[in-house]
Each structure stands twice: as C-alpha cells, then as structure tokens.
C-alpha cells in the first residue's frame, strides 16, 4: 500500500499550497491558538476600520510585521495572497467603471487592500498553527461526539484520497474520461459522477459501516462521559527506549522534534499529529 501513499505525496509536494504550516520557530509559532485568534480579530477589525491612507498604512505595516515576524517568507506571501489578486483586479475594475479611471483607482485600491489585510491574520494563523494544536483547541470547544466526527473525517482524508486515485486509474483504463484534459469539457463530467463518484460513495457507505462497528466494538458511546488520555504528556514520562523513533532528524529548527513534518498538506499532513488530545484529564459531564 505504501506505493500509493507515495504517489499521492509526489503530486501534492510538487504543488505549492497556500496557507500550509511552516515548520520554523518564531514568537508567533509559540503563541497559543487563542492568542493568535485574538490578534487576528484585532487586526481584522483594524483593516475594516482603516479608511484613510495613513491608517491603512499603519495596518499594512502591522500585518507585515506580524507576517514576517512569524518568519514566513516572501514567496509564501505571494502564494497566500495571489488568490486575492483576481479579487482586487475585479474590484478596481468595478470602481474604475463606476467613477472613471483616475478617480476610481484609489478607492478601488483601498477596498482591495482592506480585504487583503482582512485575510492576512488568518493566513498567519494557519501558517503557524499545527493541525494537532488546532485539534486540541477544537476538542476543548466542541462536544466530544462532534469532535470525534471531525477527527474521523480528518483521519480518513488520506485513505479516501488513495481510494479516489485508485478508482480513477482503473476507470480510465476502462475508457472513462477522467483525465485532467478530459474534465475541461463539461460533456465529460457525467463520467466523473458515474464512474468515480458512485464507486466512491459505495465505498463510503461500506467504510461507514465498518468504522461504526469498530467504534461500537470498542465501547464508543456506551457512556455519556469518557476519560481523556494525553498521549504526548504520557510519552514524555516514558523511558528513552520507548520514545518514538519517527521524529525527523531535524535541520528544520528547534521545533522539528516536536512537530515532525514540514507541511501539512494532504500528502504527509498527519505525521506531526502526535499531540492531539488535551493536556489535562477530566471527565465530561
């Protein structure tokens, strides 16, 4: 099975995803998720309120400081914000159409910049927060059964990615029009739903049966409450010999031994998630 995992990785790795976790160490990385959300909310509000050139300049500087303070790169910034460029062009075009060329440009640019700045804190959040950290946060906020669903869906992302790849490969050899080029023609979209989506949904139905049985077989939901075991905390208490040997030999930085992988994309996203549960043990009412 390993080989299939692998060719998924190749494809994803060569792509340049925006907003992926950057495994460097910075003061922003060390902030708690809650603190980052608070900073994000403040910066977002500032972007909304800044209408004058000077205030916009201040917000721009703050955001730039926040972004690069997190030791994120310029090329990263380009990846994160290029989606917004299309948006900006549309907005400026609309303003220009409404108010004429010289008059409409500044307000257009201003709004586009505001919208861009509104999103930057979110990008920083995603770039500096590990999935495991977010999962721990979610576990605190959400009711357990809902977070169980979220984590299970998350866990099955790579499995179904593999599944989709396998189905598509087999169906293509049977003549289904599923390649990238084929899909540019809407006439072929029918194939995608019949040859790809039906088998996929059938697999999902079967998988949900099996997962449900497995969860039930291990006592999921038999009691209204449950205990929490923190794998990371417990691991630290172990003798050295039992430590995980999976941590990458780190040239990435001081965090590397904890955070594992360098990106969180679908290909290898999961490797660093050793720390998914809560620190404390408690019983939910």
């Amino acid at each position: 099975m390993r080989d299939h995992t692998a060719f998924r990785q190749r494809r994803i790795r060569t792509s340049d995803y925006a907003c992926q976790y950057m495994a460097v160490d910075s003061f922003v990385h060390r902030l708690g998720a809650g603190a980052k959300l608070l900073i994000g909310a403040l910066l977002g509000a500032a972007a909304v309120l800044a209408h004058e050139p000077w205030s916009l300049g201040v917000v721009l500087a703050l955001n730039a400081g926040y972004y690069f303070g997190a030791r994120l790169t310029l090329s990263g910034l380009w990846r994160d914000t290029r989606y917004l460029l299309v948006q900006s062009v549309i907005i400026m075009g609309l303003y220009a159409a409404r108010y004429g060329v010289p008059a409409g440009l500044w307000p257009g640019l201003q709004i586009a910049l505001q919208i861009g700045l509104f999103f930057v804190p979110g990008v920083v959040f995603l770039r500096t927060t590990q999935a495991s950290q977010m999962m721990r946060g979610l576990g605190k906020v959400l009711p357990y059964r809902l977070s169980f669903l979220v984590f299970t869906s998350f866990r099955f992302v790579p499995l179904f990615a593999r599944e989709i790849r396998q189905i598509a490969m087999a169906q293509r050899l049977r003549g289904a029009r599923l390649s990238g080029v084929d899909l540019l023609n809407p006439g072929n979209w029918r194939d995608m739903f019949h040859c790809l989506m039906i088998p996929l949904l059938v697999r999902a139905l079967k998988t949900s049966d099996e997962v449900a049985l497995s969860a039930e077989g291990r006592g999921f939901g038999i009691r209204p409450e449950r205990t929490y075991f923190d794998a990371l905390l417990a691991q630290k208490a172990l003798p050295d010999g039992d430590r995980d040997d999976d941590a990458p030999s780190g040239s990435i930085g001081p965090q590397a031994s904890v955070c594992g992988s360098t990106d969180r994309s679908a290909g290898s996203k999961a490797s660093g998630r050793g720390v998914a549960r809560r620190m404390t043990s408690r019983e939910d009412p």
Partner: protein
C-alpha cells in the same frame, strides 16, 4: 445490547453520522484537488452542492447537510485550506442550511432535477451573503457592492447548479441498488 448509539440530540445513528463525516471528507478532498488544477472563481461550489445534496439523499433527515457543512469547514481549517479563516465555516454552513431547509420543504427533492437545480442555485448564491457583508463592512460603495457580489455569485451559482444537477441520477442509482434508503422520513 439493543441500544443504538445516537448523535446530536439522538438524531443520527453512529453509522449515519460517520457517513456524513465522509461526505465532508470528500468535499475537502475535491476542494484540494480542484485547487491544484483550476483557478476559476466559484468552482468549489460544484462539489460542495453535490455532496451536500448527496448527504441529504443518503441520510434523509433534517440537519444532515448542516452537519456536513460544519465538519467540512472544520476539517478544511485543520488542513490549512481555509484561506478565508473563520469565514469558511459560514461559507460552508449557509449553503448546507439551504439544502436542509429545502429537504424539509420537499423531502423528495434529491430525486428531482428541477428541485436540485433550484436548490443548487440558491445554496451557492448564499456565498453572496458573506460577500455583501464583507464589502459593506469595508465601506465599499453600495453601487459597487451590488455589481461585485453579482460577479462573485454568478460564477458560484453556475457551478453550484451544475453540481446539483448531477445529484438525481446518482441518487437514483444508489437507491435502485438498495444502498441508501429510498423512503424519506
């Protein structure tokens, strides 16, 4: 041991809830795949409406689509795919609520092309709601807001409608094979 494990106010069985979770997984996966290949605006609505309606078809209960919306928004965030930050949750949940409402009003909706098309258009048009809100917050000229939202929404609506249009044949086939319940509750 005859009791069923129930979810969310005893609404869903464990199996149904997991199936909805997998629909969310598919939304996330297709979103990731599409982002690799295309950069057309609004394309993500294509699979979003498809899987929301499929979720409704596979688990014909009120709230099914909304649950899928919530889970997919959160998983997107975990994977760092939510470039809009918290807004993504709204972007997923609003269309999901439209699907649920439609399912409430017309339970056999998922088998009908016209109903699906309509729901697809309305669901994807909700994207405009967040757009209007944001533009308005930014102090955009109301005149421009209308046009901007129109442009942003029309692409979504077209893709959403196309995605929804693919639902009835798939649902019918799954029902014919007795894989999903064909009687709506």
């Amino acid at each position: 041991m005859t009791r069923d494990i129930r979810f969310l106010g005893r609404r869903f069985t464990l199996r149904e809830a997991l199936l909805l979770g997998f629909c969310a997984t598919f939304i996330v996966l297709t979103r990731a795949a599409l982002r690799l290949h295309f950069s057309l605006p609004g394309h993500s609505m294509f699979f979003l409406t498809f899987f929301l309606l499929m979720a409704r078809g596979c688990v014909p209960k009120i709230g099914a689509a909304t649950l899928v919306g919530v889970i997919s928004g959160l998983v997107c965030m975990l994977l760092g795919m939510a470039k809009l930050g918290p807004l993504i949750v709204a972007n997923f949940i609003l269309p999901a609520m439209v699907v649920d409402l439609a399912g409430f009003a017309y339970p056999r909706m998922v088998r009908s092309y016209i109903a699906c098309l309509l729901v697809g258009v309305i669901a994807s048009a909700t994207k405009g709601v967040t757009g209007i809100l944001l533009d308005y917050l930014m102090g955009m000229d109301p005149d421009v807001v209308v046009r901007h939202v129109f442009i942003a929404t029309i692409a979504s609506a077209i893709f959403g409608a196309l995605g929804a249009f693919m639902v009835p044949p798939v649902i019918r086939r799954l029902q014919a094979n007795d894989l999903i319940p064909s009687s709506e509750r």
